[in-house]
């Protein structure tokens, strides 16, 4: 069995999870605890990847990340290399595809925080940023963990979006889900079966962990 697609998937999931937790936390904070014009529109836009077929999302991402798309041209100006059909390209696609899975649990956790606790922090002299880091984040650990697990398992399982934006370049964009599809296409069922067998316990154990965290969080509340 070729282990490279599996390692690439794990690497992709780890990088996208790390980046998304950092990027989504302030956004979830804004959605949960602040008021601004157009909030409902922004929230619907963020959740759009959950409603769209992955191939549709992948198509639009291919257009905007391609050599003629604004994101593709911007990337090329900065780095000198194209964005589509690269590892960086599929990370960017995953960040958009998995954003709702990061935002939802975090937003729910931030909404549960007692407002008077935040006001108490302000009166005690903490800036909004310090309050976020010293009060909100430590009291939302279960929400952050749930977000990380959901993003990780969705990143490992992503297929349509990655195929559209990254294609199947070995060592670069050929992740395990695409490798399984190609193995089945070429009637290599044993190879495909082995890869599925490896994926199954990984996904199951992460879901089990998610359940344990949710139950523990309920017990605390």
């Amino acid at each position: 069995m070729d282990w490279q697609p599996l390692f690439l998937s794990l690497k992709l999931a780890a990088v996208s999870t790390f980046l998304l937790i950092i990027l989504a936390a302030p956004l979830a904070y804004a959605l949960a605890l602040t008021r601004f014009a157009g909030k409902a529109f922004l929230e619907a836009l963020i959740n759009l990847p959950m409603a769209l077929p992955p191939t549709v999302l992948g198509f639009y991402l291919l257009v905007i990340m391609g050599p003629k798309g604004f994101l593709g041209r911007f990337w090329e100006t900065i780095t000198g290399s194209p964005l589509v059909f690269t590892f960086q390209g599929i990370i960017m696609a995953l960040l958009i595809y998995c954003l709702p899975f990061a935002i939802q649990p975090m937003k729910a956790a931030f909404e549960k925080i007692d407002r008077s606790m935040l006001e108490s922090a302000y009166v005690l002299g903490l800036s909004p940023l310090a309050t976020f880091l010293r009060v909100i984040i430590p009291n939302s650990v279960s929400g952050l963990a749930a977000a990380a697990i959901l993003v990780f398992i969705h990143s490992i399982g992503a297929f349509g979006v990655l195929l559209m934006v990254g294609g199947s370049i070995p060592g670069e964009t050929k992740v395990v889900s695409i490798a399984i599809y190609e193995a089945v296409e070429s009637l290599a069922y044993r190879e495909a079966g082995l890869m599925c067998l490896v994926l199954l316990p990984i996904s199951y154990s992460f879901l089990l962990l998610l359940n344990l965290i949710t139950r523990r969080s309920r017990a605390w509340n």
């Binding site: 006001e119 108490s120 302000y122 002299g125 800036s127």
Partner: protein, 245 residues
Amino acid sequence: MELKISVKKRLPSFELDVAFSCSPDKLLVIIGPSGAGKTTIIRMIAGLDKPDEGTITFNGETWIDTKNGIFIPPQKRQLGFVFQDYPLFPHINLQKNIAFAAHDETCVERLMKRFDIWHLRNRKIAMISGGERQRSAICQNLARRPRVLLLDEPFSALDAVTRKTLRKEVKKLKGELCIPIIHVTHDISEATQLGDELLPVVQGRIVPRWILQFRLKDLSFRRRAGIEDIWGQNDTYDDLEVSRI
């Protein structure tokens, strides 16, 4: 070190319009029925709410001046605010809670011993009682060396015995601190026991005769019910609250 307040704010059912001051050696009690605007007043002093119109100054420092667009955020006012529901931080132990915004960490142990919570220092907030939490909340605010102390119905969620003990603590504290202290309550016996000055607020206005009216109604109620007049004997007066009239 005088705190001067003159504010107006449109609330859902009336307009809050009050002007008063509090000097450093005084404990001012804002008393009135529920929904009179008492909490809104001290939230504006803390910077957690903004008035529509008015000024708040402390020791010559302007905290709010709506005409000149001045608003000093709560972080920069260096005051203490003890909330009704004592929102301590559940992710850290009690000692870390007290030291959370302490001006000087050496005062933490002294304060915790003074308020008899030192033995609970390693406990998480969920593991201590309501009275201990409220003492901790007062301690947490004092550790910051506040220039003004605001107490928003701090004993309302406590049982009568704990409430009585904490009232004594606050009374003692008043003698030790030389800062303006504003205490909000709807409990008239608490107000008369603690306050140097009473500020009756009804429907957003200062109504000085309200206390007298309350006393007269209370006396008449007690006479009709055949209850001895115990005005001023605070221990047995605890359960009678302003909202009854």
